[in-house]
């Protein structure tokens, strides 16, 4: 049984499912990275994802147009982000508490809309696996890396893009300044409020896509509370990844690979109780967080509202 764990089929299976499972975590955690780098902790990711998941499902279900579905999920995420930005930037509310409020709003609102507009569980169109000529046909690698739906590829492409924007552009510099020393940034003419609005709305948009990836790519249904904690794990992954896109990628992959490993461990009948197996990714996340917490310092102004002194 243990030796079967290292057979080629199983290895391919673990790696390929790990990549698929990482998709929603990547969107949500990259979006959260932008917000936190500019000084705003958004705990409402889960709620934004739920509304995004429902919006994407509903548009796909009623129109069959998958890209329109993603677009609407982005729009819904953006609106949630806008509301979050208003509450944290203009009203300067405590970020953790208001984030929880947004989570509860998303949880309730997505459920309510689902009940009123759809009623019962329905099947919608979903993004198919894409066969890329040549690349998908490479033995082993093709199956691991190039047998996924389009949203998975975009999620992975997002990592270098996010790294570039955060580290190599003026915008990235402004985000960094808003998160490290908003007073200094402000005196240099950077609109801290503007930057934070941008990052929170961007985070909302990406959370919307994260939700869409669950309801119209990973699966083809919407169900109440279907994000089941992914949004909160995504927030943890930002700390885990030291507020850097590549670190977040590492964390998302590690978490998802261990998650897919536990699915295989059970399928192969390795004698570990299922309760222990399903705990593995979470225990690992906590362990790594504990071990690495002092390694990188977070943005100095994280969770601190900024008020201009006129």
């Amino acid at each position: 049984m243990i030796s079967e764990l290292f057979s080629v089929t199983v290895l391919i299976g673990i790696l390929a499912s790990g990549i698929r499972l990482a998709t929603p975590y990547l969107y949500a955690a990259i979006g959260e990275t932008f917000g936190q780098r500019s000084g705003v902790l958004n705990l409402g990711v889960e709620g934004q994802m739920l509304l995004g998941a429902f919006a994407a499902f509903y548009v796909s279900y009623t129109t069959g147009n998958l890209w329109l579905a993603v677009l609407v999920a982005m729009l819904v995420g953006a609106l949630m982000g806008l509301a979050m930005a208003f509450v944290t930037v203009n009203l300067q509310a405590q970020q953790g508490i208001s984030g929880i409020g947004f989570y509860l709003f998303g949880l309730g609102a997505s459920d309510l809309l689902f009940q009123k507009l759809v009623g019962t569980i329905k099947i919608a169109d979903s993004f198919p696996k894409i066969h890329i000529p040549f690349l998908s046909d490479i033995p082993l690698l093709g199956e691991i890396l190039f047998s996924h739906h389009i949203l998975a590829y975009i999620a992975f492409l997002l990592v270098p893009v996010a790294w570039f924007v955060l580290n190599k552009t003026t915008l990235g510099l402004k985000i960094h300044a808003a998160g490290e020393n908003p007073e200094a940034a402000d005196s240099l003419g950077v609109s801290v409020a503007g930057v934070r609005y941008f990052t929170i709305v961007l985070g909302g948009i990406l959370s919307g896509v994260a939700g869409a990836s669950l309801s119209i790519a990973q699966s083809n249904v919407f169900q109440q509370g279907m994000t089941s904690g992914i949004g909160f794990i995504a927030v943890a992954l930002v700390y885990f990844g030291g507020w850097r896109p590549w670190g977040v990628l590492g964390g998302a992959l590690l978490f998802s690979m261990v998650n897919s490993l536990q699915l295989w461990i059970q399928v192969l009948g390795v004698p570990i109780p299922s309760d222990i197996a399903v705990m593995m990714p979470y225990v690992l996340t906590i362990l790594v967080l504990v071990l690495t917490v002092s390694r990188v310092r977070g943005p100095s102004a994280l969770t601190k509202p900024f008020e201009r002194e006129d």
Binding site: T9, R20, S98, G108, I121, S219, D275, A277
Partner: protein, 329 residues
């Protein structure tokens, strides 16, 4: 500023409440009033829906909402919230308050003695805590599971079958164990792979669990609890067959769903109602099974099941009914 946050939190709470509660109509004379608290939605095509549909069937038999009033709280996955709802319903004087979820047991044990005039029902379990006003009910999920297993075993060509479960306990474990027994009794050479994903709501992980089974060679899948709707989609993509349980899941994938074990709780509900009307408020436990008609194997009319497979299934049903087959052996 703080006020704004508080207002917002209140607003969010309000939305949540509106979405979580059914409507409570006014009580009328001569109306039997039932309240039910459920962990998921009334239309989850699984555990909660099986109870809600049964209540509706009882209502239709009794002559409509004027005679039999149903009020529900769905999505009560937080046990403390469920406990508050149960207590509220008891305070409002409902004739029967149903706690439809084994996780609500310890709350019910505390609440029931405070309302000796109210009848409570708790499932799925057979434990009434020895209290005179608690009925207990459960489903012999292993029986229908066994029949599904017999069908699955006679229809697999790859000789690998995958099972997606939530948490290894209660109704889910009964179903999975019965299913495995049914497969192995029909053909001991078949491999049955099981994974419990540790969640009742993680649809995407259930989908990935189905992918795992398919990669491991499975051409027939089954699963139990409300998150399996994610797995059914993946089975359909891979053109693998699906066996359902709790509710009829044919509508989710008419091409691949072969049969579903459907719960008809009205069998035990009717017994409870008769007892309550006679003045007995609890202290008894009930089980639905194949023999009493509380469990029915419903085939998908659009899917043609091979005659031999169906014959084997009928034989299994007969054997379980007359006691010559024990699904848990």
């Amino acid at each position: 500023m703080k006020k704004a946050v508080r207002l917002f939190a209140l607003f969010a709470l309000f939305v949540l409440l509106v979405s979580a509660c059914g409507s409570a109509g006014p009580a009328q004379m001569g109306t039997f009033r039932v309240a039910v608290v459920m962990p998921s939605a009334i239309n989850d095509l699984a555990f909660s829906q099986s109870m809600y549909d049964a209540l509706l069937r009882v209502q239709a038999e009794m002559g409509g909402p004027e005679k039999f009033e149903i009020v529900y709280s769905e999505n009560m996955f937080v046990v403390d919230d469920a406990a508050a709802a149960i207590r509220d319903y008891a305070t409002q004087g409902f004739d029967l308050v149903i706690a439809h979820g084994s996780q609500y047991g310890s709350s019910l044990q505390e609440i029931a003695p405070d309302f000796p005039e109210t009848s409570f029902a708790w499932g799925t379990t057979l434990d009434t805590f020895g209290q005179p006003n608690i009925f207990a009910y459960e489903a012999a999920a292993d029986e229908g599971g066994y029949v599904n297993g017999v069908l699955a075993a006679s229809m697999t060509t790859s000789k690998v079958i995958g099972v997606v479960g939530p948490i290894e306990t209660g109704d889910a474990k009964l179903y999975v164990d019965g299913f495995k027994a049914g497969v192995l009794a029909t053909n001991p050479d078949i491999t049955v792979n099981v994974n419990y994903i540790g969640s009742f709501s993680d649809v995407a992980l259930a989908a990935e669990a189905a992918n795992t089974h398919i990669s491991a060679g499975a051409d027939v899948l089954t699963g139990t609890a409300q998150m399996v709707v994610g797995a059914i989609g993946k089975a359909e993509e891979a053109n693998a067959l699906w066996f359902g349980t709790q509710s009829n899941q044919t509508s989710l994938a008419p091409k691949i769903v072969v049969a579903s074990q459907v719960y008809h709780w009205e069998v035990v509900l009717n017994e409870m109602l008769d007892l309550i009307k006679g003045g007995t408020l609890g202290g008894k436990s009930f089980a639905i099974n194949l023999a009493n008609g509380g469990e029915v194997i419903e085939y998908n009319p659009a899917y043609t099941v091979p005659a031999e497979a169906q014959a084997l299934a009928e034989e299994a049903i007969k054997g379980i009914k007359d006691g010559s087959i024990d699904p848990m052996k």
